[in-house]
């Protein structure tokens, strides 16, 4: 049973595809890097997996996973950092699946939150408002929340953007720890060196899938060149797509 099954998936905005005819599957416990130039559709694909963007065509099967079994870490620009909430409370929202609307945060839950904050190296920051954190510290906070979500599928959108090397090393260790626990992890990344060294499987995306498979086979100069040449602009006069996608089944 695959953790994720893409069946001729097309995702996009205003009928314009940002991810075009994607087929394939992710096995449970896989550690997959999604790479491609800006505008290649990486974020769009991840939004589709998480379910906040409905496919224009085709379908994504979660292999028996509920949408609540997914932890999603978007690019942090979408968070209102000026809101008066402490690191402890913010990380605590990761327990939503257990607490829901009214569930209390008991002693055990408090312990869990403190452990998650400690695991990302932020001891002593519990009562700080999130607005006072640096970019790297905020990213650690977001990882702590993902940790608490205890999800079987973890989706990370460019988690190491604008993050210093020390923080990257720490957080990458956490990602590998999740992989070791048998969780499925998908991450959109730009650092080819990191992908080569740490990620066993890679999807090269450029609107359509360029290549998908073991990193060593997929991460070739030829594939990257193809991805780089992708045209970014939507064509406003484009006609409806005729391809049914089945000819290139995975």
């Amino acid at each position: 049973m695959a953790a994720l099954h893409f069946h001729n998936v097309t995702l996009g905005y205003d009928r314009h595809p940002a991810v075009h005819h994607l087929n394939g599957e992710v096995v449970p416990g896989a550690l997959v890097a999604v790479i491609g130039p800006n505008g290649a559709g990486k974020s769009t694909l991840l939004r589709g997996i998480v379910g906040i963007l409905k496919p224009l065509d085709g379908s994504i099967h979660l292999g028996g996973l509920d949408s609540r079994d997914i932890a999603y870490l978007p690019q942090s620009a979408e968070i209102d950092r000026s809101f008066p909430i402490s690191v402890f409370d913010f990380v605590g929202t990761g327990l939503w699946r257990g607490t829901g609307l009214f569930g209390g945060i008991g002693k055990a839950a408090r312990e869990k939150i403190l452990r998650a904050i400690a695991a990302v190296g932020l001891n002593g920051f519990e009562n700080r408002p999130i607005g006072t954190l640096s970019g790297g510290q905020m990213q650690r906070v977001l990882f702590a929340r993902v940790l608490l979500q205890d999800a079987r599928l973890i989706v990370l959108d460019e988690p190491f953007n604008a993050i210093d090397s020390k923080t990257t090393v720490d957080l990458l260790a956490l990602v590998k720890h999740w992989h070791g626990e048998g969780r499925t992890v998908l991450a959109a990344l730009h650092d080819m060196e990191m992908v080569r060294t740490h990620f066993s499987e890679t999807l090269v995306l450029a609107r359509g899938p360029v290549a998908w498979g073991p990193t060593a086979e997929v991460l070739t100069p030829e594939n990257l060149m193809v991805a780089m040449r992708m045209c970014e602009a939507f064509d406003d006069s484009a006609t409806a797509c005729a391809e049914d996608g089945r000819s290139q089944a995975a």
């Binding site: 906040i52 999603y72 978007p74 008066p84 909430i85 609307l101």
Partner: protein
């Protein structure tokens, strides 16, 4: 002397006691709503909605004269219609909520003014425009208290999703479907409290006891719970002091209350612990770490 100014009017006159009870109820419910309006950058949305309520109340007035229930029901219906339509349009299209709200409130304002002009009795409408907290009868007072109670109960129910949706709406969407209903419920609470406010302060100042205390609270704390408590206290004290001021000087009560709150606001801007002007000009020597 102090007794004459601060306590005398309230022990002596029943209408002052009623006004005080009303203003405390308004503070308890309206100030927390105001804090969320401010934090969600919806302060002007609240103002726009207050205008949208006016024609609804006017329609109620047109249909059944200066009847409190008719006017309140009209205001509630108009306010809910505008709030919900604007929320739905913002959610189902790319249009930002403030833009769609502006459209709806302009439309309902135009409609309301047109309807009022059919009958053309502007004098009674002064009551709607500026309220009259000193003329609270039992019915009105009970309704204000009822609305305040509903507000606090609903706010307690939607508090958690409302907070998370304010900080990180995308996260809430991935873990729960409570975000949409919580948002709509919040807009409904805004409307209820605006209707509440217009009984006392009139349509034009109704939003004042919500937004000004929230602005005051922002200068004294970085913690949400503390901000809500400070806002409630600031609103209640403004209401009390405003009533006393109004009694002594014969200034209309609504404007007096809002003016007192404004004074507190200015003091907070100047001397507030969090980002106040004086604090920023003389921050003291920098710390060791």
């Amino acid at each position: 002397m102090i007794h004459d100014v601060l306590i005398g009017p309230f022990t002596e006159f029943e209408f002052m006691r009623r006004a005080l009870a009303a203003v405390v109820a308004l503070s308890l419910a309206g100030a927390p709503i105001g804090v969320f309006l401010m934090l969600r950058r919806m302060s002007l949305v609240g103002d726009a909605m207050a205008h949208a309520i006016l024609p609804g109340a006017a329609v109620g007035f047109l249909l059944s004269g200066l009847n409190l229930f008719a006017m309140t029901a009209g205001g509630l219906i108009a306010g809910f219609a505008v709030a919900i339509l604007a929320g739905v349009v913002a959610r189902s299209t790319g249009l930002k909520e403030d833009a769609s709200l502006a459209t709806f409130y302009l439309a309902s304002l135009a409609l309301g003014v047109t309807i009022v002009s059919l009958k053309g009795t502007n004098i009674d409408l002064l009551h709607v425009l500026f309220g009259n907290i000193l003329a609270m009868d039992d019915q009105t007072l009970l309704m204000v208290a009822f609305n305040a109670t509903i507000t606090l109960v609903v706010l307690a129910v939607i508090y958690r999703p409302l907070v998370i949706e304010s900080v990180d709406p995308l996260f809430l969407r991935t873990v729960s479907r409570a975000g949409g209903p919580a948002h709509l419920a919040f807009l409904a609470l805004v409307v209820i409290n605006l209707v509440n406010g217009f009984q006392a302060l009139g349509t034009l100042l109704a939003v004042g006891l919500m937004i000004l205390p929230a602005g005051i609270a922002r200068f004294w704390s970085r913690d949400l719970t503390a901000m809500i408590c400070i806002a409630v206290i600031a609103a209640a004290v403004s209401g009390y002091a405003g009533l006393a001021l109004s009694f002594q000087t014969r200034v209309p009560s609504g404007p007096a209350i809002i003016l007192v709150a404004t004074v507190f606001y200015v003091v907070s801007v100047l001397f507030g612990r969090v980002g106040g002007v004086v604090r920023q000009m003389f921050p003291g020597r920098h710390l060791e770490a």
